[in-house]
Symmetry: C2
């Protein structure tokens, strides 16, 4: 896809702050920011990281052009020195991110940025916008895919997405989350996400009768014929006409029918009846596709009721994550450097859940060597090392008496460096590889973490050193 | 903003159908499609039309380039004649739309397209994606703006939007719906939506103390100084420090402080206490800005409780329309032409609410001449004229015994032609004009229609001729 320069897609306060930092002599002041989120959407047990590739594209293309400078000058609040700074802007931060497709949990730094505060602060809006959107949709798609228990889920939401990139990158994220394809042609062209689709009701209406419409479609696509059977009446008209056309057109040409699609009515009842009719007509291999306001809850329920659906097309409730359309990632200052020394910073809040984890940190995942399952994540101070050759004690950072000693495990750092002093040092895997990696990593989670409601809360703990640093800062900054 | 060619941002089935239409000799077959929606989001009484300007841009730039043709050829399902057709594609439809900013109601054709079925069908995805998204956000923004009862509402949601255009066109739609500005700089640069913003918590944390941070900001922006007062403790630290800096820096420079912003905690309590402190300190003109997970319900409630807030910054719940993030517009075939005659088409459904209004129609709004208020909307067959010099009887299309005779009214056609045989014949008003028009039109609605919950259902009726045509088609197509 062509690329737009989104440098100015930023909250205005990033610019007023940047100008202020420059005025205050903070041009070379080094700051550290973490992006993290506080709550998994839909009350789920984990989220899925997505959007890193687009974040990289944005950071590689950061550039203020003349039009931007002129616009900013016209606001009459920025000093000329700042506008000069923007004109010569060269991104020089270090950036680390958790790779796309990785299961992620609340309060973990999924992106960490180190660099001149003006720059590290400026990119906040796009870091959040990019990662929040795609992680939201990847997470939702994966819930729906898991509900379908191995049946294919196709992303059908383009027309109900929130804006053009909501559709395109939404399709990308849905594929990472496990969808098998999309209805969106541009997502196929640009990301090689298989595009699928057959006909709308209007196709049927364009012909004198449903039978004529089916015949015309079967003649045009004999080797790939899925017919939409609910325009008039699924069981009295749609399925009988489809069977007739399969026998009259598809079979004589030496092909097998691909499927029928039901887009309205009671999917459970209609799919069971249609399955019987297709089987009796000698088409047990003809798939039944269901669409129409589906999500993980409806799919789970109709499968419990014995619906005979082979493929689900999921639209608006996936592409907008309708039941919870916001991924609440935030971007917080966690440290500054003074004379080359890292000084941790903390954000206090009257709401205890909003207090940040200070300092330049490392994010580790501990895996059980026997089962391969993820046991816990641990945040440490950046230069700490978790020695996985010895038992390691983890503890709940709030209820510190809750302790557990982990043995026979291996510890893996989750963040990878994606920018080094402003230069990209990471190559995004192919989308298919990200999707496979995502699936593998989710296999490493316990089923208890994967429940749709009231999942087991996966441990995200702090090392003893980090916990103590946090306590000291809390004491120092709390207002009496 | 630079423009991307979104021709391929389409559901794949638009292409398979188009190829099939061509194969079936439907190249010059004329079809009519309506876009309409069935339900106002959030149970509201009306929605707001938005997105027409971007729809026009899309239609003006429809073009399949070599890359698109190559991609389609690689799918091995499209005939060469079709790929040739796409290479020479020239949009030639007539398009009518309800102007942006107009209050719209369920089952009304807000966009109508007439033209070769291949083209008129093809644009479905983008018509829906564009209008659905912006109408959703304009409608939500207007609810929030009405809840604020004259206080300014600023759109602060960029970082939580669903994709880049979700943020940018979301800001545009929010402005149409009545927001006074946005946090999004690019929306200001490109749409002249006033961008607003001051500082993040990280600004405060970058300095040795809150007081130092406030001083530095006040020195940088003495004439436009809004301070974020909730980093440590609003009433014990933030507001006292702000007052100190207003007195020490702002006033001596001959300015007045602009405001304080509260982004966490109990807005009602904190704003009342902060108001008292500011008033006692001699700053009754200093505004209080509130943000943090606001929407129309919370704003209504805190104002009932006497919160002293002058301006609201509303983020994720506006930019995603969180409580209902889907605007369910659909695009349905309503007629075809045969030998130059318009043949109405209907889509039957087992769900009665999903049955379409057939035919090429006109959408009228009847206004009371005395009050200026909108009385009802009426759909007629296209060439019918509502004579507003005489009394006009309207009736409920389902409960036809419910009748009302309207007198002393004027009737206005709501659709305007935006494309004539593929050429744009409409110039979008300036965004500010759209916003003003929207506000005026909403003033013409009865308060009963504007209730947030259980609003009066505004009449959208059919003319007698249209109603009878629909009944005939229902009889003809219903399956026994």
């Amino acid at each position: 896809m062509e690329k737009i320069n989104f440098t100015m897609l930023t909250d205005f306060y990033e610019l007023t702050m940047a100008n202020g930092y420059l005025k205050n002599g903070f041009k070379d002041k080094i700051a550290y920011f973490d992006m993290f989120f506080r709550k998994v959407p839909d009350g789920g047990g984990f989220a899925i990281m997505a959007g890193v590739e687009q974040l990289i594209e944005y950071l590689e293309n950061l550039k203020f052009d003349d039009k931007d400078i002129e616009y900013l000058r016209s606001k009459n609040i920025f000093c000329e020195e700042f506008l000069e700074y923007l004109r010569d802007f060269k991104f020089s931060c270090d950036v680390w991110a958790v790779p796309e497709g990785t299961p992620i949990f609340p309060n973990e730094p999924v992106v960490t940025v180190r660099g001149p505060v003006i720059q590290a602060q400026f990119i906040e809006t796009m870091v959040l916008l990019t990662i929040n959107h795609q992680s939201l949709i990847a997470t939702k798609a994966n819930r729906i895919v898991r509900a379908a228990q191995g049946r294919g889920v196709m992303e059908f939401g383009t027309r109900r997405a929130q804006g053009y990139e909501g559709a395109i990158y939404g399709a990308r994220a849905a594929y990472i989350g496990g969808c098998i394809g999309t209805a969106c042609a541009i997502a196929d062209r640009d990301f090689e996400i298989p595009a699928l689709g057959t006909m709308a009701h209007s196709w049927i209406q364009m012909f004198p009768s449903e039978l004529d419409a089916f015949r015309a479609y079967a003649e045009a696509y004999p080797d790939n014929c899925t017919l939409l059977v609910d325009t008039y009446n699924v069981l009295k008209s749609g399925v009988p006409n489809a069977i007739k056309v399969f026998n009259e057109v598809i079979v004589p040409k030496g092909f097998r029918p691909k499927g029928i699609r039901i887009d309205s009515g009671d999917i459970t009842y209609l799919s069971k009846e249609a399955r019987k009719m297709l089987d009796e007509a000698g088409f047990p291999d003809c798939k039944i596709v269901a669409s129409n306001s589906l999500d993980e809850y409806i799919i789970r329920d109709i499968l419990i009721q014995g619906a005979k659906v082979d493929l689900f097309g999921v639209g608006e409730r996936l592409i907008t994550s309708k039941s919870e359309p916001v991924f609440g990632g935030v971007y917080k200052l966690v440290a500054i450097e003074e004379d080359g020394k890292i000084i941790p910073k903390i954000k206090i809040s009257e709401n205890v859940a909003k207090i940040t984890n200070p300092g330049f940190k490392e994010l580790w995942r501990l895996f059980d060597r026997k089962t391969g399952k993820a046991i816990a994540d641990v945040l440490t101070i950046r230069d700490e090392v978790i020695d996985d050759s010895k038992p390691y004690e983890i503890f709940d950072p709030e209820h510190t008496w809750k302790r557990k000693t982990v043995t026979d495990f291996y510890a893996k750092r989750l963040q990878v460096k994606i920018f080094d002093k402003g230069a990209c040092v990471y190559k995004s895997p192919k989308l298919k590889e990200i999707r496979d990696y995502c699936s593998e990593q989710i296999d490493n989670l316990w089923d208890e973490v994967k429940r749709f409601e009231n999942p087991h809360v996966y441990y995200v703990d702090l090392s003893t050193d980090l916990w103590e640093m946090k306590q000291q800062l809390l004491k120092r900054y709390s207002v009496k």
